[in-house]
Symmetry: C2
Subunit: 436 residues, 2 copies
Amino acid sequence: MSAAGKARRMNRDLDVLVFERSPHTSYSACGIPYHVAGYVDDPRDMQVRTPESFRERYGIDARVAHEVVSIDVHDRRVSVKRFESGKTWTEPWDQLLVATGAGPVVPDVPGADAAGVHAISTLQSGIVLRRAVDEERPRRAVLVGAGYVGLEMAEAMLERGIDTTVVEMNDQVMATLDAGMAGRVEEAMREAGATLHLGEAVEGIEVEGGKARAVRTADRTLDADLVVFGVGMRPRTAIARDADIPLGDRGAVRVDERLRSRVDGVWAAGDCAESYNLVTRRYENVALATVANKHGVVAGTNIAGGYARFPGVVGTAITRFRDLEIARTGLGEAAARALGYEVAVATIESTTRLDYYPGAEAIAVEVVGERSTGRLLGGQIVGGAGAGKRIDVLAAALHAGATLADVVDMDLAYAPPFSPVWDPVQIASRVALKDV
Amino acid sequence: MSAAGKARRMNRDLDVLVFERSPHTSYSACGIPYHVAGYVDDPRDMQVRTPESFRERYGIDARVAHEVVSIDVHDRRVSVKRFESGKTWTEPWDQLLVATGAGPVVPDVPGADAAGVHAISTLQSGIVLRRAVDEERPRRAVLVGAGYVGLEMAEAMLERGIDTTVVEMNDQVMATLDAGMAGRVEEAMREAGATLHLGEAVEGIEVEGGKARAVRTADRTLDADLVVFGVGMRPRTAIARDADIPLGDRGAVRVDERLRSRVDGVWAAGDCAESYNLVTRRYENVALATVANKHGVVAGTNIAGGYARFPGVVGTAITRFRDLEIARTGLGEAAARALGYEVAVATIESTTRLDYYPGAEAIAVEVVGERSTGRLLGGQIVGGAGAGKRIDVLAAALHAGATLADVVDMDLAYAPPFSPVWDPVQIASRVALKDV
């Protein structure tokens, strides 16, 4: 929808037609865990714009509950199915944007399709989960996967008074965090009352009367009235692959800087498209709202005949578990080593405000640099209120190709209610610099 | 002290002797308003390190209540006076660091030296003011000047239940903020119960029995039991000037990137020294703890025989009035125009969190770019909790010489509890970009 809006604003003569399978356009999927938790009661609050408002304000013909079932790139048309009537027809196009998003990975284990088993993708799936919590009053939830979704859902379930167990295949939560930082998150989760089983893969869901009743791992069987899968997202690109639109290694549509696919007249944006990573200098697939929104503006500009580029991502993400803020950008130590970098790395503990100022919270910052050049490679932050968004300084520094020394030199904002004199990201950079 | 510590750590054979006029070393002067407010009760909390700890931990001979009364750059010695005994003698040096700081400007008006009139500089001056508030229980305070000190002291006085009036010569508070942003601060101050008289210069203090009893402006006489001057800081460089160490326009010691003065073997750091501004490409005098700390590390490294450079500042500062956070970096619109720039400028209103997320606060962001090139020149932020430190992204961008478009492209952290999908600094940059 971001591309559609941008294209129409660029060129009022353009006919813009949007097909969306779900009942909603332009919603904030990131808000789903907070809807389940009860922080955001009305799901309409998570809708940025309805199809009607797109029609009225922008003259965009956005049709929900319509599925594009195939793409023909030679004759330039798509086959569309309307759910309500079951009717199917073809629509021609001059320029096609594939913005099919990503869907949750559901492990291929017995019982995964039982009632009471959820996976989060669309706003609709979030509404269904919230309703299940409200109406079925589950007593025990098992969350499979301890990534962003698992963490946010664990908070939601605990908030709703549900006994919460998280099962994670890896030996730690949050696979992209380095182990020390992940340990801080695990501690907070356990303190909040969640049970964690790390290093355990789920082997199946036990079902009774069509409904999930337990989750089975190699080591144990966990009673569950409610199961939520949060084991990753995968681009929804079967339709593109079937149309011979080339995909990358991760199954996302290959695009260039202007978000052109390898097929003339076909563009891709959002969770289903690749993004260039400015730190690793490789293409990857990032399923985040920020990237999708930027993609949309770039694709929309280009589709309308303008010129725009998407330079790339640096791998920034943030979340929260209750009062603990968790953020990352660029490469962690393990990821950097896995890519063959020799690293200069430091993890420091500091405070979010000057230590004597009321409300100062603990913050841990890890900074990773390239040992030979001092170039900043990434950072991770875990800490109290005010900790997380500090990652943006490191993200900005990564965009600039800055060194650790450049970060130390930065004129960052200080006053006792906001920071120690040296911002924690600078303290970490100073320490890491000793290994350069 | 930061230079002393760094030099000793670099070179353990170095004899490091420090003379400090006040009774304290290494304290957090920025905390004084919060001590007066009562948020920080024990002034010892504001002391980072005592002279004793410098001696024990670093082997630095730090002598408080000692004043260097003159510098001889030819014979390389200083004359020192010990307050306790009144004794004066000379000490030789190989390398001399001038770190005499800055002092508050006290307007030359009748009554400025009366009892009950305060100006904040050292920790000691803050302790004296706090004691005056505690013991004399003033009912009416008049604060002269509405910059950082005036703002923070206004919060402190209101917090202590004192009737608070602020008199400011300019037509707005916070001279470095553009008028629209300053207006938001004025509104918050008035809402909190402060009386503001803008565009009024103070002509004198009325004194009764040696004690201030009112402040007189051209327009009115304001009863006052307590008067605090906060009309700016001035480098304390008379001693350097008398020793023929060259000063810049603002009276600060001229230094190069290594913090060498123009006299061989003499260095300067902190509030008494100049800093290069990377945005304006001019030298200026910045009296901020962050800059002073960075200066100290650079000067200390160089004095010990190492090599370090201080690349410069971009003009970042932050403060708070109650719940309102106020930050700036680089040039505001007025400052940019005054320097001859044609500007692309935008001020936007957004929220600190996604609008539907509980606790989302209003935030206003102004971004200024150079119209011909799109280069970012600066930004200003006024908003609720979580607003202020976003200035660091713009500061980092200024260090990198980034354009408005670069800011829009940045991969900044987003999740509903932290930010709208486009961070407010990016929203402002997008709007400003339309004028490039």
